[in-house]
């Protein structure tokens, strides 16, 4: 199986690569459009600031390519946020895959949310074997609002979408690569999704 991690300059890639290595899969870093299109599975990572990350996607043409991918795609953290319509972080538009906007947590809570929180209302094959209220590690100041495409929700400040799915596109706000055994199970589930392309 060919697993690609999109390398467009937005950090945190090594940890994801290592996590798949622990599962016995070599993930390849790539920013080549043909290679990404030909992969069986694609990881869309991201750590950092949304508007500058989106600019990097535009410069490489990936903003056009990613929404057309047919194989399973997993956005992680900022990757997931960039798959939404827009983000309040730097007031940028997103890829528009998920029909939801990304907002900032209010000042009634500590920002960023940093640490382990539970995911609930699970409804996707991505969460096979994961129990309701399982703990995941999160670090984020912005969140996707609760919406129809939510496949998991979490509570911090308000209830928000901590995972999203539309067709072959999956997004998780938490870091499965840093979320102990349960996080590894989610990555494993992603690897086992059917590839249609």
């Amino acid at each position: 199986m060919k697993l690609i991690i999109i390398d467009y300059g937005a950090g945190n890639i090594k940890s994801i690569q290592f996590a798949f290595k622990r599962l016995g899969v070599d993930a390849v870093l790539s920013n080549t459009i043909d290679e990404i299109k030909a992969a069986d599975k694609v990881i869309f990572p991201g750590v950092g600031e949304a508007s500058s990350a989106f600019k990097m996607l535009q410069e490489s043409g990936l903003d056009v390519v990613i929404p057309t991918l047919k194989q399973p795609v997993l956005g992680i953290c900022l990757g997931m946020q960039l798959m939404c319509n827009s983000s309040e972080e730097g007031n940028t538009k997103g890829l528009g895959i998920f029909d939801v906007d990304v907002k900032k947590f209010s000042n009634t809570v500590k920002v960023p949310q940093m640490g382990w929180n539970v995911i609930k209302d699970l409804k996707s094959d991505l969460f096979t074997g994961i129990k309701e209220n399982e703990f995941m590690y999160l670090v984020h100041s912005f969140y996707a609002e609760s919406c129809d495409e939510a496949i998991a929700t979490s509570d911090y400040d308000i209830e928000y979408a901590s995972a999203l799915q539309k067709d072959n596109f999956y997004g998780v706000q938490f870091h499965p690569e840093k979320s102990s055994i349960a996080g590894e199970q989610i990555l494993k589930n992603f690897l086992e999704l059917k590839t249609n392309h």
Partner: protein, 251 residues
């Protein structure tokens, strides 16, 4: 609900843990990678590695250690000690560290916080503050608490938040090593002044001290070394005790 974090801290010198760690059934308690894996299994929420190597060779070994920890451990970890430039941080993050902690270098050149937050994002910038109370007022100290400054703790905490720190690791030099409890009054005041997470450090001796730092001290996380390393407080027992006191924890 976001849970309170329990963070063991390992001191590293030339790629080995120092001060010793006393786990049962460990073949090599000096190997930080072995220990990190053990702590992940035991329920630690995060780990901090503090590099106390004084030599360039020791620093290079630290990068290798970061690489190995990132490869083998499935929980987040922070690296601190001797970090003074964007290049230092770039290298540590490149090899898989999740966050870095800066201390004296931030006091000497506060712009470093802005530079790191802009380049890598606030989420990976922890500013460690060592402070001591002098005639009723808290002052920031440098070099492991040995050099006093005229900077006031609460002013500095607000400044680091403004400059883009994602988290504050506050160590009370008055409490560190005493095993008599955390500096909860100062911690609670810090929490009321800034809106980023605060890690309490210095003074852990009993499970009640952790309960107190989360309730009275309003801390978001608590860091300790020897009580965990020598098995005085097993992490799972601690978390159960916290849960019994209605403090949200990951078990």
């Amino acid at each position: 609900m976001l849970t309170k974090r329990i963070i063991p801290c390992l001191d590293i010198k030339n790629g080995r843990t120092v001060k010793g760690v006393n786990f049962v059934n460990l073949i090599d308690a000096g190997d930080p990678v072995v220990l990190a894996k053990q702590y992940a299994v035991l329920g630690a929420d995060e780990l901090v590695f503090l590099d106390i190597s004084a030599t360039l060779e020791g620093r290079k070994t630290m990068i290798e250690m970061v690489h190995q920890v990132a490869e083998q451990v499935n929980i987040p970890f922070t690296v601190g000690g001797g970090i003074s430039s964007v290049e230092n941080v770039n290298e540590l993050l490149k090899w898989g560290a999740d966050k870095v902690s800066i201390n004296s270098s931030a006091v000497k050149r506060p712009e470093l916080i802005n530079e790191l937050a802009n380049k890598f994002g606030s989420q990976c910038v922890v500013v460690a503050i060592d402070a001591k109370q002098i005639e009723g007022e808290w002052f920031v100290h440098l070099a492991g608490g040995t050099i006093p400054t005229e900077i006031k703790l609460f002013d500095w905490a607000q400044e680091v938040e403004k400059r883009g720190a994602g988290e504050i690791l506050f160590t009370s030099m008055d409490h560190d090593g005493t095993k008599a409890g955390f500096a909860n009054v100062a911690l609670a005041h810090l929490s009321s002044l800034v809106n980023i997470p605060i890690i309490a450090s210095g003074g852990a001796g009993t499970m009640q001290h952790f309960v107190d730092t989360f309730t009275i001290g309003k801390a978001d996380a608590a860091l300790a070394a020897s009580v965990f390393h020598f098995g005085e407080i097993p992490i799972l027992d601690l978390k159960k005790e916290l849960k019994n006191n209605n403090i949200p924890v990951r078990i």
